[in-house]
Symmetry: none
Subunit: 225 residues, 2 copies
DNA sequence: GCCGAAGCTGAAACCAGCCTGAAAGCGCAG
DNA sequence: CTGCGCTTTCAGGCTGGTTTCAGCTTCGGC
């Protein structure tokens, strides 16, 4: 889960970024509107947290730019102004949710989860994410196999598997996985992903993740056959 | 767009129902929790507006019932209580949004639109490219034949087929295909294209790609005479 | 019908990309 | 500080997609 936090208030970022990372997101920070726009133009984020009062380019402008270029990632707007007119304006501009400062971190996290649940197919039901006999336990960082066996996952294995389970049947390139697992600071030329895929396969079974040479990996492509 | 308004405050219903209808929704009203549950069990609503303080059965219970029975329509919760704890509780129970009374009708409509935008897979992806029973799945790098059989394609086969499907009925010369599949640096004197055409035909069926001697290939010219 | 050109296709070579075990690096708890 | 487990790197081996090649078939013109 990769997330862009577009916010210029350093104190807020300092508090929020660790909380988001603890919740399992890879967080990029953009401190003004121009940077935010550029970030999301080059990377496919799963979600954007957008402050309206950004320097250089306002949040609304940035949002309109994204929507007019058919970028469709969920955007949650943060703002200090709590008038219903502004809410309407922001939501009709294409935002998915609207949170007023000051807010409690828990509320924000719950809203993010609600928005993501909505935007990713098949995640509408609460409880553990499960696909065809494999289920992921969000709380305990573990997975349960079809036969009931429980498998403990490391942090990265967990995020990797969740990324797969959120996009069953889709080819995920190594680059894409890299972007989702790590934030912009880390620059990998290596085969980290391959290594983790190996470890993950050893734990949950080889067949769940199929490799497509030169393209990436597919989760649970054994729908038929 | 069919919508269930689960609300027992008659004055609120009297004001809200016409506004919703004006906005283009077909509105059913349920005045208590048991009715609301029964309505949504028998009809697939596009969206439910759920008051938390319903008689006979609370909104949270109803919501939990739906989610546990894997009903996945979007639910927007209405409530008078504005504590962040309740927001978190409601959102984690599976609601999609949370609106506090009193609210402005415009704000509610904007939120409904935002929620629906997310939940309908309408414009999320440009849709699979499909021509006369053959469809190309961009996400899964595969093709689906008319009879439902799925065929996995290699990277080059995929690009080749996409090139054909983007120009149905047009003669594409080998040179032209070469330019589309490789960058200009590579200069092929060989019959790579022919080889790939063979492999592609073997996978999707011979008739899709017709050869025009000395000119090139045509996709789907005279769809199966 | 004959002939050359163009296209088809199976087999094999080639090689980029992937797998994986081992070991080094890193961070954290005791 | 030490030990442990997670993460990352590295190198060698392997796999299978891509390309080449050679022999064959098909097509169109004469």
């Amino acid at each position: 889960m990769r997330l862009l936090l577009a916010e210029d208030d350093e104190a807020l970022v300092a508090g929020l970024k660790p909380a988001l990372e603890r919740a399992g997101y890879a967080v990029d920070v953009a401190t003004d509107g121009v940077l935010a726009q550029r970030c999301a133009d080059s990377i496919d984020y799963d979600l954007v947290l957008l402050d309206l009062g950004l320097p250089r380019r306002s949040g609304v402008e940035v949002l309109q730019h994204w929507r007019s270029t058919r970028k469709s990632m969920p955007v949650v707007v943060l703002t200090a102004r709590d008038t219903w007119q502004e809410k309407v304006a922001v939501l009709t501009a294409g935002a998915d949710d609207y949170v007023c400062k000051p807010f409690h971190t828990e509320e924000l996290l719950a809203r993010l989860a609600a928005v993501l649940k909505r935007s990713t197919p098949d995640m509408r039901t609460p409880g553990p994410l499960s696909v065809a006999g494999l289920s992921l336990d969000e709380g305990g960082q573990s997975a349960t196999l079809g036969d009931g066996a429980r498998v403990e996952l490391s942090a990265i294995e967990f995020r990797l598997l969740r990324c797969f389970m959120l996009h069953p049947g889709r080819v995920l390139s190594q680059q894409r996985l890299n972007e989702h697992l790590y934030d912009q600071a880390t620059d990998h030329e290596s085969n980290v992903i391959e290594a983790h895929i190996t470890r993950l396969r050893r734990k949950i079974g080889r067949d769940w993740i199929q490799t497509r040479r030169g393209q990436g990996y597919v989760f649970n492509a054994l729908a038929e056959t």
